[in-house]
């Protein structure tokens, strides 16, 4: 259902265009599969929050199974799904959530408010010139995972 509300991108051109056309707003790109249960839960939260953050953020879904998108999958070192990456003015924003990977949010958000808080924090940080922000979500609600760094 969320795919009807949020745009799904399958080509690199589309991703490039949305990154370049989103100016002075946070761009949230979800990399995942629409068939995965965790992705579906995550997409539901994104879809519900879309209107709330519409004034300062834009949300789009990226299908990782598409071939064109693989360059981005490799570019962002995406190994676990769903992975959410944040941009601001074509700059990749980092989020320090206490996990090993600050470049993305891995897993689904528990509640809508967590996602809104994260986006708001990123927006505020970006407007102040910060490229990395502290995650406002409490640790118990941050998904835990094992990161393979350089195949180790």
């Amino acid at each position: 259902m969320s795919s009807y509300l949020l745009k799904t991108l399958t080509k690199k051109e589309e991703i490039d265009r949305i990154i370049r056309d989103t100016i002075d707003e946070v761009l949230v790109l979800r990399f995942g599969r629409c068939t995965d249960a965790v992705c579906l839960h995550h997409d539901d939260i994104l879809a519900k929050s879309a209107t709330d953050v519409s004034k300062f953020a834009k949300i789009a879904l990226v299908d990782v199974d598409s071939e064109d998108v693989q360059v981005y999958v490799k570019y962002f070192d995406i190994t676990l799904f769903p992975s959410t990456i944040f941009f601001f003015n074509a700059h990749h924003m980092k989020l320090d959530s206490g996990t090993a990977d600050h470049t993305k949010w891995v897993g689904a958000f528990h509640i809508k408010q967590d996602f809104i808080d994260v986006v708001e924090e990123i927006y505020r940080g970006a407007m102040k010139g910060k490229m990395i922000v502290q995650c406002p979500v409490p640790p118990e609600r941050i998904p835990k995972y094992q990161l393979l760094y350089k195949d180790v």
Partner: protein, 424 residues
């Protein structure tokens, strides 16, 4: 040596509506003075309303008695006009009483300001005596004529008639200077009708008094000998107009008023409207007017400026291209500010159709940071580029080279052991 300030008992200030232990010093505090001024102003407006009925007594209907009430802030008493026949009679009597005077003095002594404003909050005996006489005269007259209204109360619809009766009688009996003193501080009663019947008045008094009528000057009130003949119903207006066409043209033509001697450009139309005509110094023949089909002046004025306006618009649009949609100023130090400004200009130029290359380079990638532990994000990008090149080269080489033999992985220790075993 400074004496410690004595703390007096806690008391409640009626003006500030708060408890304090400042004693007699409290009334000199600026906050108290501010509250006091508003407090007294409110009461002044109430007493002004009562003074109105003091000077213009009116009969109070029984159904309105409960609504006619005043709260006296000095005596802490609600004055309700139950059982009184005239409006605010109990309030007037109360404000003239000695008890009220005593309470006012006490209040002013306790709360300030100075005692010289004591007369603002009470009614003198002389005023009350006058009011009583007026009430007596009201009571003596026919109740049906003045039922529900009197003087300038305005509740009657025949206010013009009643005033004509009352005021004209007064004017007959009293000379003009006395009228001035009598009405010096009050609103002037309607001495004449401001409808078409005004013309009948003006005709009798002569042309010289027209300006005075229009200016409503009390000193030029006419002394009509027979005012009753010109009351409404006589149908006098139109005929009087027709007989004075020299001075007051009734054809509705508002031009060429220079011939008028007595009245400077004002006259009355047959409908009774008093209008003022303007001099025809700026005549309409040269430029034309709306009737002749001439262009409006604002378009003529802007002909020279239209081209400038267009140029300015182009400049403005280019300026506004930098901030499409949002007028508020954004932080110039925000992430990607320079890129955002450039991109906005590009978008604006694309919209205008300036032929910018819309195609994005296939190798374009956002400014990013892949997972890295140290160094800058640019280094991580360089690393990615290297890996990409490596991927491309081996792919091209592998096509030409022999197929790679896939072997199971042997650990370093195993390899060492096998070498040692082999050697040993």
């Amino acid at each position: 040596m400074k004496k410690p300030s004595k703390k007096s008992e806690t008391e409640f200030c009626k003006v500030c509506r708060l408890h304090h232990d400042q004693g007699s010093r409290h009334k000199y505090f600026p906050r108290h003075k501010d509250f006091l001024s508003t407090f007294l102003d409110r009461f002044r407006s109430k007493i002004a309303d009562v003074r109105f009925f003091l000077k213009n007594p009116s009969v109070l209907r029984p159904e309105e008695q409960s609504q006619n009430r005043v709260w006296c802030v000095f005596c802490d008493e609600d004055i309700v006009e139950l059982g009184s026949s005239f409006a605010c009679s109990k309030a007037i009597n109360h404000f003239a009483s000695s008890d009220h005077l005593k309470n006012v003095k006490q209040f002013l002594w306790k709360n300030g300001p100075a005692m010289d404003c004591i007369d603002d909050f009470r009614i003198s005996e002389a005023d009350v005596a006058k009011w009583r006489r007026k009430c007596q005269s009201l009571g003596n007259e026919d109740a049906s004529s003045f039922k529900g209204s009197c003087g300038q109360s305005g509740t009657s619809n025949d206010i013009h008639n009643k005033l004509a009766f009352k005021t004209m009688d007064k004017i007959e009996n009293v000379p003009a200077p006395h009228i001035n003193s009598h009405h010096s501080n009050d609103v002037m009663p309607l001495q004449y009708n401001t409808n078409k019947f005004q013309i009948s008045h003006s005709e009798l008094s002569g042309v010289a008094h027209h300006a005075s009528y229009l200016n409503m000057d009390a000193s030029h009130l006419p002394l009509c000998t027979d005012p009753l003949s010109h009351l409404p119903g006589n149908g006098f207006g139109k005929d009087s107009i027709a007989s004075r066409t020299k001075d007051f043209p009734s054809n509705g033509n508002y031009c060429n008023q220079e011939d008028k001697k007595q009245i400077k450009g004002s006259y009355s139309s047959p409908d009774g409207l008093v209008v003022t005509s303007i001099s025809s110094s700026h005549s309409s023949d040269a430029c034309g007017n709306v009737h002749s089909g001439a262009p409006p002046p604002w378009l003529d004025a802007n002909d020279g400026k239209s081209s400038n306006v267009q140029l300015n618009q182009s400049d403005m649009s280019s300026f506004q291209a930098k901030i499409p949609g949002k007028t508020r100023k954004l932080n110039p130090n925000r992430v990607g500010a320079e890129w955002a400004e450039r991109r906005k200009i590009e978008i604006e130029m694309e919209k205008r159709g300036h032929g910018i290359n819309n195609k994005i380079d296939a190798d374009w990638l956002p400014n990013f940071g892949r997972v890295w532990q140290s160094g800058t994000r640019k280094e991580s990008r360089k690393e990615f580029e290297k890996e990409k090149r490596k991927l491309v080269k081996p792919e091209s080489i592998s096509i030409e080279s022999e197929p790679v033999k896939v072997q199971p992985y042997i650990s370093k220790r195993a390899r060492r052991e096998s070498v040692e075993n082999g050697c040993g």
